[in-house]
């Protein structure tokens, strides 16, 4: 099943990539234009190690290209979407407040559909040539939506569960086992509250577990009987809810919020959309050393996150240069370093120059990080319309 999906993916992906080489004189012109610009990078700011990485990027682009990178910390990426819309409402076609947005999934689909994005620009970025669009088809297919050169891939994410091996010696092997564990240990398990992306992705794993035919998830939700397809998901949630932390009356706001509960010993599991996050948190002293990670035997969802430029960005040249730098082997290797963020690369490492490849080969693997072999299979994201519907339905059932 997964293999068929991957094949579908690959075909779509290849057709979505325009074969066009970067144009050197045009790029030089862009670099000259970018020099001295201030790029307002609107990116979720809830994680200190990620913020630290963005600081490093700021230092680098200042030193190399004369660009000042201003990290505008968001609690939710949708705030940036709202801002661009407000500007469009007011008829501001240029000079917008946002130059670059960290984005994927439903936010991208929404902005693409409303024509709020600049581009296509990605195929003109020199470093895009190193991106592994064949081995990592999600770098051009964002939640099944073709990126069409409107967003530049930044990192690979995969969902993992965290557990405290001090209190749970043997982690569950499947979502069913996990829910059974939660029922047997009332108050010791919970998930972030949708529409937080960790919370929503947890629900998607439940949906994948209790669905008859996962292939329907690749189509827009409007084409199927949503309630019928997701019946198993809601049944499973209703069953487990009384056994959740605080009986499911309240939920942590996001992933780091759930980590804090795990560190407090209030629950025994957490979740992350980055296999290296647990190791980084142990290193930073915000999670106990006994924390380890696992994924269900059936696999876990992986996706790509991107950066995009609003249609009215004031500093498009600077934003493109930053987007290109984010895809450079050096920036990608630094990002994958488990001492820092530990986020997976979008590049085809095997195809890089030996010098660049060495940057990746030298990286250590954290104490709680699974090996690439253990992190299989990787499951595809459903069409973004599913996310919206699941969140709505969750809010209707559990938040009213």
């Amino acid at each position: 099943m997964v293999r068929i999906l991957s094949a579908v993916f690959l075909t779509l992906a290849l057709s979505a990539v325009p074969a066009k080489a970067a144009d050197q004189p045009a790029w030089d012109k862009l670099l000259a234009e970018a020099d001295g610009q201030t790029v307002y990078f609107n990116a979720w700011g809830g994680d200190e190690t990620i913020n630290g990485y963005i600081d490093w990027v700021g230092e680098q682009v200042q030193a190399r290209f004369g660009i000042t990178l201003q990290h505008v910390k968001l609690a939710d990426t949708a705030e940036a979407v709202a801002r661009v819309l407000a500007e469009k409402t007011a008829g501001r076609g240029e000079g917008g407040a946002i130059d670059l947005i960290w984005i994927n999934g439903e936010n991208f689909a929404s902005m693409k559909q409303q024509d709020l994005l600049f581009g296509p620009f990605v195929q003109d970025l020199p470093n895009f040539a190193h991106v592994d669009v064949q081995g990592k088809p999600t770098t051009v297919l964002d939640f099944t939506v073709p990126t069409d050169g409107l967003e530049a891939p930044w990192g690979m994410a995969q969902f993992v569960f965290l557990y405290d091996s001090g209190t749970v010696p043997e982690p569950p092997r499947s979502i069913e086992d996990l829910l059974a564990w939660a029922k047997a240990n009332p108050g010791r398990f919970t998930h972030p509250s949708p529409p937080d992306f960790i919370g929503s992705t947890f629900l998607k794993h439940l949906m994948l577990t209790y669905i008859d035919d996962p292939a329907v998830l690749q189509r827009p939700v409007e084409e199927v009987d949503f309630m019928e397809v997701t019946k198993g998901l809601w049944q499973a949630l209703e069953d487990v809810r009384p056994s959740l932390w605080r009986k499911g009356e309240t939920y942590p706001a996001n992933g780091p919020g759930l980590h804090q509960l795990l560190d407090d010993g209030a629950v025994d599991f957490s979740m992350a959309f980055n296999p290296a996050e647990a190791s980084a948190a142990i290193g930073a002293g915000t999670l106990p050393e006994s924390v380890r990670t696992f994924i269900p035997e059936a696999g876990s969802i992986g996706n790509t996150h991107f950066v995009a430029i609003p249609f009215n960005a004031a500093h498009k040249a600077g934003a493109q240069v930053v987007a290109d730098f984010l895809m450079s082997p050096e920036a990608q290797a630094k990002k994958q370093d488990p001492e820092g963020w530990g986020d997976g690369t979008v590049l085809d490492v095997a195809g890089l120059d030996p010098e660049d490849r060495a940057l990746f080969d030298d990286l250590p693997r954290g104490i709680a990080t699974l090996s690439p072999e253990e992190l299989t299979p990787v499951l595809p994201e459903p069409h973004p319309s599913w996310m919206t519907r699941i969140e709505e339905e969750w809010l209707r059932r559990f938040s009213s």
Partner: protein, 566 residues
């Protein structure tokens, strides 16, 4: 020298004020009825209201807003009355009054974060009694913070609003010469509580009515505090509406605009109900007021009033201490009462991130406060030169920004500012803060200004001083203390603003408040502690300066010392 321009100042002030609010209300009202051309909404419809009424959790969210807003206002008011009734004129009470100023200064968000650290299941209170007393090795699974009935939110609002009502009542009592009348009632044999309730309260209440409505409106529509302390599934109405404004599904903006209008209606309805309740209570108590009973020694009122005060002060103190300790905590697992080790690592790591928002907070606060002082002093000076008191109407208009929920007009203000090219810039941000700073500066300064003996100015004029010289060298010099306190109040109000900064700052201008709230969602207590403690420190510093400067300036003038006659 004639100051003709001064005459236009009150009008200009009101225009600066009501203009953006009216524009903001219209800019929210139109989308609420489907008109938002950027989204293709070009004709009016009721669809946003239908979507709003069908939104999951709406009924519960409204119920929670009413529950938390009304009960916190009622508790803060009743506590205030009990404290005055049982403590008026005592030395302990005057000391308590001084403790209120710092509580008033600490921004709502800093207090909320501190309270969450204190009251959560893994918070300080539980840590202090675990495991030796409670037996808990892991945090108990109980919900107070973000719990279903909003108890933590109610507590947080009471902690912040009671000091405000207390200080407002103090100011109002000064105007009615309450001391003499209460002494009279006491000499006629009334107990302390009865004397205050029957003599002072009926006169004071009309004076503090508007502050009470402001507290009610604020509590019903608070966003930052509710996001930290309030329930989440669903939250109270205002954060729910903000969530819709931020939804990736862009057409949700229309539903959000309708929600913002609903919030406005709820606040207006609640104020109307409160007003009606005043009438009913007033009528019912008429007989009691003149029945001539003198009452006892007020032991019960004293017990409740002072225990309430003790709870408020210790919650606030514990919150601030908790913030400070988290900001310097190394590894600190449950159930340790204190961190295993302390470190300044978080402060060092955050220093670079603190600088920009701290600077913006300071700059916007100082600019908005300076403008507000200029306008308020100008209006008051005009009033004293014209020799007439403004009617109740004008006074109410000053209060408008405090009585209308922020979420009801800020979306519209944002659209207007973007249209004018002023969003994300200093002018727009200072202006949006001014809307909320000015009323408080006016509140703080109007009474002392009007109370200044006019003969000082008259003598100075007779001695040949120009009016401007009289204003600067005589009036303001004598009013240095209240002017600085008004400035400190204004600055504290500016520092605390979340929604205006969020909507108008465009993310380009961030303050400690907006940074702290986006970090609070991340749950890294150490980093949040650093931001929140700095957030609390800035306005406290303002009040410390407001106390220190006159003390130094007047160090050789006994007549200007605190408590000096005249």
């Amino acid at each position: 020298m004639r100051h003709g321009w001064l005459r236009f100042l009150p009008g200009l002030t009101l225009l600066l004020f009501l203009g953006p609010i009216a524009a903001g209300l219209i800019g929210t009202l139109l989308p609420a009825f489907g008109y938002l051309p950027a989204l293709g909404g070009t004709h009016l419809s009721l669809e946003p209201w239908r979507a709003l009424l069908a939104a999951p959790g709406l009924g519960k969210a409204i119920g929670l807003s009413l529950l938390t807003g009304i009960s916190s206002t009622a508790i803060a008011f009743v506590l205030t009355v009990l404290l005055f009734a049982s403590g008026h004129g005592t030395r302990a009470f005057n000391r308590a009054k001084r403790a209120m100023t710092p509580l008033l200064a600490v921004p709502h968000l800093a207090m909320a974060v501190g309270l969450a650290f204190l009251l959560s299941p893994s918070g300080w209170i539980v840590r202090l009694i675990s495991p030796w007393l409670s037996g808990w090795q892991t945090p108990p699974d109980v919900a107070l913070v973000q719990g279903p009935f909003g108890i933590a939110l109610i507590l947080g609002l009471v902690v912040k609003e009671m000091p405000f009502l207390l200080l407002m009542t103090f100011a109002a009592l000064g105007q009615i010469r309450a001391d003499d009348q209460i002494r009279m009632a006491r000499s006629l044999g009334h107990g302390p509580v009865q004397a205050w309730l029957k003599v002072a309260l009926p006169q004071v209440y009309p004076q503090i009515r508007l502050p009470i409505y402001a507290v009610l409106a604020f509590s019903l529509s608070v966003v930052d505090m509710a996001m930290v302390l309030g329930p989440t599934t669903p939250p109270t109405l205002a954060p729910l509406v903000l969530r819709w404004f931020n939804d990736p599904e862009l057409t949700m903006r229309l539903q959000a605009a309708a929600g913002a209008m609903l919030q406005l209606l709820i606040v207006l309805a609640a104020i109307a109900c409160w007003r009606a309740a005043e009438g009913v209570i007033g009528r019912l108590s008429r007989g009691w007021l003149i029945d001539g009973r003198r009452g006892g020694d007020g032991r019960i009122a004293r017990l409740f009033g002072w225990s309430g005060l003790a709870v408020v002060v210790s919650l606030a103190g514990g919150s601030l201490a908790g913030l400070a300790i988290w900001s310097i905590a190394g590894r600190w697992r449950f159930p340790s009462a204190l961190p295993d080790r302390f470190s300044v690592k978080t402060w060092m790591a955050q220093a670079g991130h603190l600088a920009d928002p701290a600077w913006t907070t300071l700059a916007v606060g100082v600019a908005a406060t300076a403008l507000a002082l200029l306008l308020v002093i100008g209006c008051l000076e005009n009033e004293s030169r014209q020799g007439r008191m403004p009617g109740l109407g004008a006074l109410t208009l000053i209060y408008v920004p405090l009585l209308i929920p922020q979420i009801g007009f800020l979306f519209g203000v944002q659209v207007v500012l973007v249209w004018a090219g002023l969003d994300g810039g200093w002018i727009g941000l200072v202006w949006s803060h001014l809307l909320f700073v000015l009323p408080y500066v006016f509140l703080a300064l109007a009474d002392p200004y009007r109370a200044l003996d006019p003969r000082y100015a008259r003598i100075a004029l007779l001695l040949g001083k120009r009016p401007l010289g009289v204003l600067l060298r005589v009036k303001l010099a004598m009013l240095l203390r209240p002017v600085l306190i008004a400035a400190a109040v204004g600055f504290a109000v500016s520092v605390a603003q979340f929604l205006p900064t969020q909507f108008v700052g465009a993310g380009r201008l961030t303050t400690l408040t907006t940074e702290a709230l986006s970090l609070a969602a991340g749950g890294n207590r150490r980093v949040v502690g650093v931001f929140a403690i700095l957030l609390a420190a800035l306005p406290l510093l303002g009040f410390a300066l407001a106390a220190a400067i006159p003390a130094w300036r007047f160090r050789h003038r006994r007549g200007m010392a605190i408590g000096a006659p005249g």
